[in-house]
Symmetry: C2
Subunit: 590 residues, 2 copies
């Protein structure tokens, strides 16, 4: 990496007596400090000021914890100095994985603002909708995505463009760096004003950052990908963010030797709280602008990466990359969206990746369950382990029991706990996954109706259908709409997909319901083969393969070979697109 | 281990649909679950019902998580069924490290009671004082310490004797087991009553345990050894206990492969929250009744121990034991009370122990700081590392910055933050260690005066004097209140002096700490007799006199007879002069 001197906004305050802690209102009892992830930033800067907090190799940028904390808090003062700013205002971020978005995940919270990261894979119309719905006051936008900012914006909205330069070409050449610089100057003015008032000994450096008055105050607003119509804004709290980050640090076994690689988009549910979790552990964040398998392997091989998160689709790309080779140390990967297939699991393990399967959603601050491996698994075949690992598992460290309930009594407004009946632990009875507690969102922002439909009887209803096994672990069967009802039988498309994916020639697949006169619905399988497009013979081969493994009624009647599956920005297969395609009958081939 | 079938109180509920979660009042918002360590017990029993929760080899006892949770919660129902029981009542425990005290640390909390573990090294008078001061409603007492229970007790106090049998000789032979059995029956009646009311489907097994209405409700009352006269009762909360346990699980790197060995007394600040931390990690607790180096080495060598906590005095015994040999795996040890010497550190490292130095007190739920090692240390000599490690370090995971302040402005009732001036980070300027936040106690129970003297301006004043180094780490210089830490126990020199001065032959006396390789510190008493200089016989007489009146560990090991004590012009004894004299070893006589 070239020599690099961070700009002045990255220089820590110099007062020799300064402390690194949040200011708590004097009315707070001595035995309480509001829980907020911001406290982890100050703590890391106190304990390990010179340690690498963030490395961004594409730009030759590297910040120590004291430098990075200074940048994040310069952003805080810049935000607070924006004309008309008030507590609770939303700050939108439109950016790929860069230092800016990670700084914003601290800086906005410390300003008492609401961190509103947008999905850069959305189109201009969707972005415009979210900006309007959230009522964003400030927009932090990366130069590559500047075109997503609507041309016409209300005059009170401040747009700050980032060239992702780290100030290399001088602060004036990068509006974001200039913004930070202005923030840093505002910070100094605030310090001096304090010193004027209280005497020089009161010059307090870092200590001008306030804890949130109430830990249940909102701090993040993350919009869902909107599988059903308009995106919904998931509002979450300082307390939940802190507890989720703490749990992720524990469950991922992060520590100060950890190097976390950003593969998961940091805009996605605030990066599953990992910006805060890595900081809690005083680890290092390795930031890459895009999911580039070449750069990722460089990070694995040459930059000491120990952890990352990624959907199976990302991992498939990684294990099949030409640079792939067994790593000298264990790298922990949290897989979500769906479970790894036996084939993928075997490949990952051969390369020295330790895989954990997690489940969650934006409404739960990212993952809340984990499939806890058991010691006996080590003696099993990889196929058996992949099958066991496919369960979504159990609530992790700070999470209450995640339930699967069969039905809710009529009169859904009853808050009677007893109206929710758990399914039997038999791996068969299907119900809906529900959760509640510290990792349940506050509400859908400005959407009472959606909140009312989701939070029923004090429980957050996920819309995911699952069974519960004898060991208490949950396993998703399908989204309610992903069940195929064929000849009166309920077919879990997920189960069919898992089985189909275990065929050695199948790279990826997706099964949806296809209206059928005789059966009501039949299964329609979209298949990506490893060796290019298939034909009639291959269809027949897959059909036989499934017949040997699952109920006859569950075997799809249609196999369609495609080059790729349509996916959301977060790597989830867009079933509704395929379902629509099948309904219109445009491309079906038998 | 012999075959052992736990008694019926250890059998989990059988309802196939049961959940394992606390019942939360329906008025609680869906995004909150009160933080309480009890939730970790239910979670472990859900995720790993068959895994070893607790092993007590002396009694051939071994409980899986579902069995152990059933026992703990049977205790909960037994407590709640005690005539006259009401929420907030104190339950005293007088026991060494046995299953009972660990069960009580969960069972009492789940009953809404206040867990009040007593120091078994206290004498009968001190025990009587604490029982009276706490107003304990129930006393759980181990058979070996039954003599400590006062003969005369108020009629409303229930005493439950434990034979530490695990029910091996039948439930009737052990009152504690009988108590659990009665609790289990009460639990079943409660289940049946629910089923009567709501229908069979509502039979809820585990779910009859209530979360605390408020997470700030008190849950533990741990008495300090009485640094200034009478023991003080430290009242702590569910929230603090949960957060401290979570932080200890993270900082100690506990996980489900961990086996925690009980060396630290589980009555000390509720075992520094480790009963809950190990359960959060779903590890195993290995319980030994006493600190027996032979049994401890057996546990290291043959029972997979990975973690323990112990003062240097304990570790000196361990490294010098004949069975000591290099362990095949790393064992993590948290050392508190004082830092390990270079010699001890070298010996521990040779045997494959990873040492971490921590600092805290009962008022902070046990440890709150940790000396974070730096990577560069590995290249240093053991002497240099021991010196660096001797700092008390920085606040750990969930802890705010721990401060060292020089002075408080006149008018101590000011709640103005700016009146507290941090010492310079120069390793020289001495101040008092202060802390606040989620790991600060609620108050001294029924002692407004002591609370007022300790919690000043919203900060908990520890009474420990320290410097702060350039790296921000704190290092203790002296005990403001002249505490002697002997074998991990805090001895108030003031209390010893008061007792000694009550001997008819003693004119004046002063007790200071004397460094000791085995005990860390021992008491050194300077005595002026009424009748001139004393001798060996007189030493023995004074020793016997104190033994009859104070805890054995508090009795000074050295008595030195002098003609006069060094005093200031105002007649105050110059303790620092005597302390210096003792350190230089000039006049020591044993």
């Amino acid at each position: 990496m070239q020599t690099y001197t961070p700009p002045p906004s990255s220089q820590p305050p110099t007062n020799g007596r300064f402390g690194l802690r949040l200011s708590v209102p004097s009315s707070t009892p001595h035995y309480l400090t509001p829980l907020t992830p911001v406290s982890y930033l100050l703590r890391a800067a106190l304990i390990a000021p010179k340690k690498d907090a963030l490395v961004h190799p594409e730009k030759g940028v590297r910040f120590s914890y004291e430098q990075w904390a200074a940048r994040c808090l310069s952003l805080t003062f810049a935000i607070k100095s924006t004309p008309g700013w008030k507590k609770g205002d939303r700050v939108a971020i439109i950016a790929p994985n860069t230092p800016m978005i990670l700084e914003a995940h601290f800086g906005i919270l410390a300003a008492g603002g609401i961190d509103t990261p947008l999905n850069i894979r959305n189109n201009e119309r969707e972005i415009a909708y979210v900006l309007e719905h959230s009522g964003a006051r400030i927009i932090l936008v990366d130069h590559e995505f500047a075109h997503l900012v609507p041309k016409q914006l209300a005059p009170h909205i401040t747009v700050i463009l980032s060239h992702d330069s780290g100030g290399r070409q001088g602060v004036d050449a990068d509006p974001y760096e200039k913004f930070l610089q202005a923030g840093r100057e505002a910070w100094e003015r605030a310090e001096n004003a304090e010193a004027q008032r209280w005497g020089a000994r009161a010059k307090r450096g870092w200590e001008l950052i306030d804890a949130p008055p109430d830990e249940n105050d909102p701090c993040c607003l993350c919009y869902t990908s909107g599988t059903t119509g308009r995106p919904k804004g998931v509002l979450t709290s300082h307390r939940g963010s802190y507890l989720a980050a703490t749990a992720n640090a524990f469950e991922a076994q992060l520590n100060s030797d950890s190097v976390y690689l950003w593969v998961l988009p940091a805009f996605h549910a605030a990066g599953w709280t990992f910006p805060w979790a890595v900081t809690a552990a005083i680890g290092t964040q390795h930031v890459l602008r895009r999911v580039d398998n070449d750069q990722i392997w460089d990070a694995f091989l040459n930059h000491g990466v120990t952890h990352y998160c990624g959907a199976p689709t990302v991992n498939i790309g990684l294990v099949n990359h030409p640079k792939a080779k067994r790593l000298p140390r264990l790298v922990r990967v949290a897989v979500a969206a769906s479970a790894p297939t036996a084939d993928l699991l075997a490949k990952l393990e051969r390369l020295n990746f330790a895989v954990v399967h997690t489940y969650g959603m934006t409404e739960t601050y990212g993952p809340i369950t984990k499939r806890y491996p058991e010691r006996t698994w080590s003696s099993l075949s990889v196929e058996e382990r992949a099958k066991l690992m496919s369960h979504q598992g159990h609530g992790f460290l700070v999470v209450d029991e995640v339930r699967v309930v069969k039905s809710t009594s009529p009169g859904t407004n009853s808050s009677n706990e007893r109206d929710l009946i758990d399914v039997a632990r038999d791996g068969k009875e299907i119900g809906e996954i529900i959760t509640r507690g510290n990792l349940a969102m506050l509400e859908y922002y400005n959407d009472k109706e959606a909140t009312r439909k989701t939070v029923i009887n004090g429980w957050l209803h996920t819309g995911d259908l699952a069974v519960r096994h004898a060991d208490g672990s949950i396993q998703i069967q399908d989204r309610a709409k992903d069940i195929i009802i064929s000849g009166g039988e309920n077919v879990s498309s997920l189960m069919v997909e898992d089985t189909l994916a275990s065929h050695p020639e199948v790279l990826e697949c997706c099964v949806v319901a296809r209206p059928d006169e005789k059966w009501g619905e039949i299964g329609h399988a979209f298949v990506v083969l490893k060796s290019g497009r298939g034909d009639q013979t291959r269809s027949e081969e897959l059909r036989q393969y499934l017949r040997a493994r699952i109920s006859k009624f569950a075997v799809p009647q249609v196999f369609e070979f495609v080059d790729a599956l349509p996916k959301t920005s977060t790597g989830k297969v867009q079933k509704h697109v395929l379902r629509q395609q099948v309904k219109s009958g445009s491309k079906a081939k038998l």
